[in-house]
């Protein structure tokens, strides 16, 4: 399959601080890949290098098959969309005017503005000056701006960090739709649920290194077999393994009428992350 991003032996240091140490990965055309990692692990740094906002200290970074520093060309910039935590909006302008500027810069019709506002649930705020919006609303305007031109490659740096669960869910649907229409998505998050909900593959980033990179499903099975928790009528909890002995225990409690609830402890990406790095997300 065709690689849209190819990164080999990428190193980035700020002075004597190593932010990325020898990072290798590829992003395939059409996939959604997520970089999951705690604060300071190097997620934003990676996105900045991939979008030519920062120069790599060493290593080879290619986007659309070309060295990343060649990205800054109108024809290529039209193919990418970027949402970072420092993407600024024009405070005094309305949501509509902010997006209209980018519609012109990307050469897309103004009617597309309505579509993207629908996707981020902001149609009611079309005529509101940006400075009157909440933090999460601003984040959604920035997201709308990043997808206005249906980019072939979309970079999202913690796209839903300031959003409530309902809006997040709606935006996830929109992103999946965009992905189905052909947009390759590179996103960073420290929310394992977001990574699971959206990503075909997830990279665990810790201290500037990729610890694992695989499908969420494969990652989950790596963290060992799930256990089963039983809550009994006397409010005690018993944990059993999903094997013969566990089955016997469960049927015993059921037969004696002691069982209140059964809960399967599916391993999460978060659990695996802790196992691997000794650190919480």
């Amino acid at each position: 399959m065709e690689n849209i991003i190819e990164v080999n032996s990428l190193v980035k240091s700020f002075g004597d601080k190593l932010a990325l140490k020898d990072v290798d990965f590829n992003v395939r055309k059409g996939e959604t890949i997520g970089f999951l990692g705690p604060s300071g692990s190097g997620k934003t740094t990676t996105i900045k290098i991939l979008t030519a906002q920062l120069a790599a200290t060493a290593g080879d970074v290619r986007v659309f098959g070309e060295p990343v520093h060649l990205l800054k060309d109108p024809a290529r910039m039209k193919k990418i969309g970027i949402l970072t935590d420092n993407s600024g909006l024009y405070d005094r302008l309305t949501v509509q005017d902010n997006l209209a500027l980018y519609a012109d810069l990307y050469d897309v019709g103004k009617e597309r503005i309505r579509n993207v506002l629908e996707m981020v649930s902001l149609t009611d705020e079309e005529r509101t000056p940006v400075k009157k919006l909440s933090k999460g609303m601003k984040q959604r305007v920035t997201l709308a701006r990043a997808i206005l031109h249906k980019p072939a490659l979309l970079f999202l740096d913690e796209p839903t960090s300031a959003l409530d669960p309902t809006t997040t869910k709606h935006i996830h649907e929109g992103l999946r739709e965009l992905n189905r229409e052909g947009t390759t998505i590179f996103l960073t998050t420290h929310d394992m649920n977001e990574a699971e909900a959206l990503c075909d593959r997830v990279a665990f980033l810790h201290d500037g290194e990729i610890k694992l990179l695989d499908t969420p499903q494969n990652l989950r099975t790596m963290s060992g077999s799930p256990s089963i928790s039983l809550l009994l009528k006397d409010k005690t909890t018993v944990t059993v393994e999903p094997d013969e002995s566990g089955a016997a225990a469960i049927s015993g409690y059921m037969a004696s009428g002691n069982l209140l609830t059964i809960h399967s402890n599916e391993p999460t990406l978060g659990d695996l992350f802790v196992q691997l790095t000794g650190r919480n997300l």
Binding site: K72, P74, A75, M77, N86, G88, L101, D104, L105, P129
Partner: protein
Amino acid sequence: MMTTFSIKRVNAIFVKDWKDLQRNSYVLFTLALPLFFAAWLGRIGADSAEMIAFPIVFALVIAGAFVQAAMVAEEKEKNTLRGLLLSPASVTEVFVGKSLLSGVMTLVVVAGCIWLAEFTVPSLPMFALSIVIALIFFLAIGTLLGLLSRTVMETSIIGMPVMLIFGMSSMFKSMITNEAILTVMDYLPNELLMNIWVGLENGAAVGESFLILTVWAVVSVAATVIVYRKRRMD
């Protein structure tokens, strides 16, 4: 570096800045200052050539340099410049679009000052040419100030010396006795402008002043480009 230049994108920046300007009270107030000043001079009926030319120079400094500096610095302060540069727009397109708006606004303010101060324009084509060359100089200085400042607030601090040297130096001339300094002052853009306007009225030669003014414009544009390139990888 720059492979294409799109009028459509320049226009998009211009339109955005125009919409923004209408809601930007700081910039609107700044643009109004030279007009108040010119109106006041018109009322007291000042008639020395220098007094009357002063509001026009003031308009060029305030509207050309200060407003441009504030607009550039705000794009940096609010992180919007980054967004523009990550779009298909090139640096040149962004700064040309912005300078066009500041330029048009400056011309409007200069025209307003001429009218309010009841300044009689000596020879319109030559006068207009002097204004355009000076405008390029002041816009470049404004852009440079904007690039050197991190915030809009900083532009007014860094801008003060610029204001004093390029805007008000004529006012201190009578206080200065040092010949060397006086000679240097004759080569400042604002002094050159006054020379040109007085010369146009009296029929004196203005070619040399025009030439030096053009050198200022070219040098300031070059300096701005160099500073931008240096600051690029922040």
